[in-house]
Amino acid sequence: MSLLAVHDLAVARGGLRAVEGVSFSLAPGQALILRGPNGIGKTTLLRTVAGLQPPVAGRIELAEDAVAYAAHADGLKGALSVTENLRFWAAVFGGGDIGPALAAMDLTHLADRPAAALSAGQKRRLGLARLLVTRRPLWVLDEPTVSLDAESVARFGTAIRAHLGQGGAALMATHIDLGLAEARVLDLAGYRAKAGQQVRPAGFNEAFA
């Protein structure tokens, strides 16, 4: 039984297919890293899996409410404190205690600090704590370690491993090394969409080209 199964997926951005024919599946405890050159469509693929945009072709099999998505923007409000930010997301995703998440990300001593006064690395840790409180099994992460220093990257690795160990799964896009040796890697470079008349155009740019 897999948490996520993607069959022959094609995704589009700006009215043009980016990648097509992508298939993979993720079982509990597995992690998959997407790689590929700038603009190949990693972000687009992740957003499609997260349900933020419809696929152009292919199928995504996924339990409802299984995905926790995180991109560069962490959805933090600078005016609210760390606790308030986290408690809000916990409430939105169905409640639960935020204490363990704070502790896991070493944020307990910063709990009352407004998010605006956090450094970039601390903000990222708060973003990861948000993933923990969603209690969702499938993490979909877009360049999760951008602008993090080495120490923070290591802490990120620990968090991912803990999540996998609890039966979660993670789908990540990145350009750099995350230090997750156990993760599979899927290079999207081979799936670049080819131009040509499509049965169902992805958008204006494909319909009129």
Partner: protein, 218 residues
């Protein structure tokens, strides 16, 4: 849902949240009109109710772009869209928060500004009643406009242009209630229409707004 409402209210009342700017704008507007029209009571009284309604509408308008834009910029909107709340519910809650932070203060301040413009005393309760019934529709329609323009840089003027025509029926019936109330006429019919519009808007517009948001998140 409640958590979202509480967060939006908290954000609006924190420093930089812009709470009270709407009322301040309303005040300035009501202060400008006598400069433009002339300070005589005879000039101000007949137009007071109309100006108050138009002023409330503009004050509401100028705070609309905050409904979704800030959440769009910091990524909250993406996260909310993947959260277990239906997007329609998110829209409705955000419109409610906008109404509580903008509409309610305006209503509370309206009697004072009515005095500034020499609104007849008999019209005051009608002004409050009409604002109370009408402004929720303004916030909801505003949320629709904000959802449509959320991806645009500097969409403020466009947002006004899209939303103001949608405000016309509400404005007509709202101002008519006050006008008739001031003359002691029957206000039942416009009141009914106003309530009907608000009810219809609250029931249907969240779906249109959520559809627009989905397009903009894509």
């Amino acid at each position: 849902m409640l958590a979202l409402l509480k967060r939006d209210l908290a954000l609006a009342t924190r420093a930089g949240g812009g709470f009270g700017l709407g009322v301040a704008f309303f005040l300035i507007l009501c202060a400008l009109v006598p400069f433009g029209v002339g300070p005589e009571t005879s000039a101000l009284r007949p137009i007071a109710s109309g100006i108050l309604w138009v002023g409330a509408l503009l004050a509401c308008l100028l705070s609309l772009d905050r409904i979704f834009a800030l959440d769009h910029e910091d990524g909250s909107l993406d996260l909310l869209a993947t959260a277990p709340l239906p997007l329609e519910g998110t829209v409705a809650i955000k419109a409610l928060a906008h109404w509580i932070t903008t509409g309610l203060p305006l209503i509370a301040a309206a009697p004072v500004f009515g005095l500034l413009l020499h609104l007849p005393a008999g019209a005051m309760p009608w002004l409050l009643a009409s604002l109370l019934i009408g402004t929720p529709a303004l916030s909801m329609l505003g949320a629709f406009g904000a959802a449509i323009t959320v991806g645009l840089r500097r969409g403020g003027l466009l947002l006004s242009l899209l939303v103001l025509p949608l405000y016309i029926p509400t404005l007509i019936f709202g101002a008519e209630i006050v006008r008739r109330g001031a003359e002691g006429g029957s206000t039942a019919t416009p009141m009914l229409f106003l309530a009907g519009i608000t009810a219809g808007v609250l029931a249907l517009v969240p779906f249109a707004a959520a559809a627009a948001l989905r397009v903009n998140l894509r």
